[in-house]
């Protein structure tokens, strides 16, 4: 019973594989024809795109830095908390690094932080770690919400669609930056009494919750549209006629076909969450000291830049690089799935 619908999925793939997708490619060994799944074809196309591969590697490097931060710390021999500038005399003069360029030296690769005297390299590495952890978590929950609500709205239509559509409209009208800034402290106050110190994981959870709340709508709307058009296609009818349950149709027939927009949108969503988190920290409502945080480095830099601008460059350039490569990767992923679309 499964085979007809399975082949239907491959053949009516909407990701625009076109003739290339259906063409049987010659196998090297026997001259025999082999079929390739859309995923394999996408991977083959992606590998040919040099910009995509390079940016993919840089993105991977960022994630590895985040993941392996403790290892880097061990190899480098410093941690992001110790105030080296304060315990070692001579490193800081009047609160600012004694050596030029923010105190960059063989020992402190990216220099030392003014006033507090912490190691900038370690702060950045651990800051990237916290920010990426948070962004990945927010992206995951947002994508899941978008899939559930978007596909449900598109597939079931009618009242469900109307209701979800109105919720999306409503949330879209929220001034989102203002909402984030206003509600991070409020949600915090609901969960934790004002006199208690808030645990770091709690703070992270609140950030995830608040950013997720306004983060899922655009993808959900997109998925609703895609599902709406897919619902009318023959292979869905075929599955329905063969007696498949809605759950099965959604899981086995619809979801594989909306993977493309999901993947492409995810690569655009993640960097935007990174900048949102950083923006919140910059405005002083994100994570607090001493948790290392990418965005808070900008807030600190705003205090130091008139006397020591070097401190600003490391988090700044790292963030520009991260966003650029992530956008390039997103474009490449989209091109790999959808080679017909112009860039």
């Amino acid at each position: 019973m499964t085979s007809p619908s399975q082949t239907a999925v491959t053949q009516t793939d909407p990701s625009g594989l076109g003739p290339e997708g259906l063409r049987k490619v010659k196998d090297r060994k026997g001259g025999e024809l082999v079929g390739r799944s859309p995923g394999q074809l996408m991977w083959i196309r992606f590998k040919r795109d040099r910009t995509g591969v390079i940016s993919g590697c840089v993105v991977l490097a960022f994630f590895l830095i985040g993941l392996l931060a403790p290892l880097i710390s061990k190899l480098y021999g410093k941690d992001p908390y110790t105030r080296y500038g304060q315990i070692t005399p001579g490193l800081l003069v009047n609160g600012y690094p004694a050596q030029p360029n923010g105190g960059i030296s063989a020992e402190f690769w990216f220099g030392i932080e003014p006033t507090l005297g912490r190691d900038v390299f370690m702060q950045l590495v651990y800051g990237i770690r916290t920010t990426l952890y948070l962004s990945v978590a927010i992206t995951l929950v947002s994508v899941l919400t978008a899939i559930v609500l978007g596909v449900a709205a598109g597939y079931f239509g009618g009242r469900v669609d109307y209701f979800i559509g109105r919720v999306i409209d409503l949330l879209m009208a929220f001034p989102n930056q203002l909402f984030f800034v206003a509600f991070v402290p409020v949600v915090g106050a609901i969960f934790v009494a004002p006199e208690d110190a808030m645990a770091t994981w709690m703070r992270c959870l609140i950030l995830i919750l608040v950013l997720w709340f306004l983060g899922w709508m655009s993808l959900a709307r997109l998925l609703r549209g895609t599902t709406l058009s897919l619902r009318e296609r023959e292979f869905i009818d075929a599955a329905k006629v063969s007696g498949a349950s809605p759950a099965r149709i959604i899981r086995r027939e619809l979801l594989p076909n909306v993977m493309t927009p999901i993947l492409v949108q995810t690569t655009y969503m993640l960097p935007s969450f990174v900048t949102s988190i950083a923006g919140l920290s910059f405005l002083g409502v994100g994570l607090v000291e001493p948790t290392p945080d990418w965005g808070r480095m900008f807030a600190n830099a705003a205090d130091y830049y008139r006397n020591d601008i070097t401190y600003l460059f490391f988090p700044g350039i790292a963030m520009v690089l991260f966003i650029v490569v992530f956008n390039l990767l997103g474009d490449s992923v989209r091109d790999a799935f959808d080679p017909k679309r112009a860039r």
């Binding site: 001034p175 206003a182 509600f183 900048t275 923006g279 008139r306 860039r343």
Partner: protein, 325 residues
């Protein structure tokens, strides 16, 4: 058109009501007494009770919400005196009337937004069109790659660099500040030129990317191919046929951007210490100043919704196929 406006305005009011209720109740769900803030140091239980009574905090939360919302329409009487409509109450932090404070801060935000929007819309769409016109040529490559990098910049990164360079190092400009245009047009211009530049630098890059891709997409449409096939010059095709179609996504995004900028460009205002709605919002959040936060939130949401309606109405002018009703 009238029916469209009427229907959309009703929808807008419903959305604003929900947003206000959401904000209001969530704020009161937080176990923090706003009276403590208004009371300041040397607070006695009696003083708190008086403040509770004056601010109407002794009533149940739904009643407070009702009083707050009806105050916007009809005005409200407080112990300190009458607050004319639209009354958003008084700040918990310094007892200023919320509506007056918003009106006081709004010109800064408007100046910042309009100046920057004029620059980034013209420059961004212009460069995007040039890039699409010369697609694949050197100038396109330069525009595309520089806009990719610039659009990935953040205001809290570029702002301090520009300030350090132009203000503190070279001394070409003074500290960014807001002077009302009616007082001193030159001072207004010079005070805002750096914020405009930084804000529009990033937005221009985003609009360049968007205009370019939207234009290229349009150039592959059937009606454009038909126009070419019947022998029109590329210039006519480009400016008369493709250009119009490529405007739709740009108008959409521009409406959204403008709407959110009018509600306060928080990070830009904060970076350059401009006294606009954005800094007001950040400050009131830090002070748990509920009436002020409610005021700014509703004000900002109104602009977003208003601009959305304007955008939808604009579609009908750009694309004759769109019918509003």
């Amino acid at each position: 058109m009238l029916r469209f406006l009427f229907r959309r305005s009703l929808g807008a009011i419903v959305i604003l009501l929900i947003i206000s209720a959401f904000t209001f109740f969530l704020f009161f769900a937080a176990p923090r007494d706003p009276a403590l803030l208004a009371c300041g140091k040397n607070c006695t239980p009696d003083a708190i009770a008086v403040i509770h009574k004056n601010l109407g905090l002794d009533k149940p939360v739904p009643v407070q919400y009702w009083l707050f919302m009806s105050g916007i329409v009809t005005g409200r009487d407080f112990a300190v005196g009458h607050c004319p409509a639209p009354c958003f109450g008084y700040s918990f932090a310094n007892n200023d009337p919320v509506w007056d404070t918003i009106l006081d801060r709004f010109p800064t935000t408007v100046s910042l937004t309009i100046g920057a929007a004029a620059v980034f819309l013209t420059a961004g769409v212009g460069t995007g069109m040039i890039a699409a016109w010369k697609q694949g040529r050197l100038i396109d490559k330069i525009f595309s790659s520089s806009s990719l990098v610039l659009s990935s910049m953040q205001i809290y990164f570029v702002g301090p660099i520009v300030l350090a360079l132009l203000v503190y190092n070279l001394g070409w400009f003074g500290q960014p500040k807001y002077v009302p245009i009616t007082d001193d047009p030159v001072g207004w211009f010079l005070g805002l030129i750096i914020p405009w530049f930084v804000l529009s630098l990033i937005f221009t890059a985003q609009y360049t990317r968007m205009a370019r891709s939207s234009m290229i997409e349009q150039l592959q449409e059937d009606h454009v191919r038909t126009a070419r096939a019947k022998g029109m010059t590329s210039r006519t095709v480009f400016f008369r046929y493709a250009w119009r179609g490529s405007l739709i996504p740009i108008v959409t995004i521009f409406g959204i951007d403008l709407g959110s900028l009018f509600g306060g460009a928080m990070i830009t205002e904060y970076t350059f210490a401009l006294p606009g709605l954005g800094t007001l919002a950040v400050k009131s959040v830090q002070n748990t100043d509920l009436p002020m936060v409610m005021g700014v939130m509703l004000f900002a949401a109104t602009f977003i919704i208003l601009l959305n309606i304007v955008v939808d109405a604009c579609y009908a002018f750009i694309d004759p196929r769109v019918r509003l009703s």
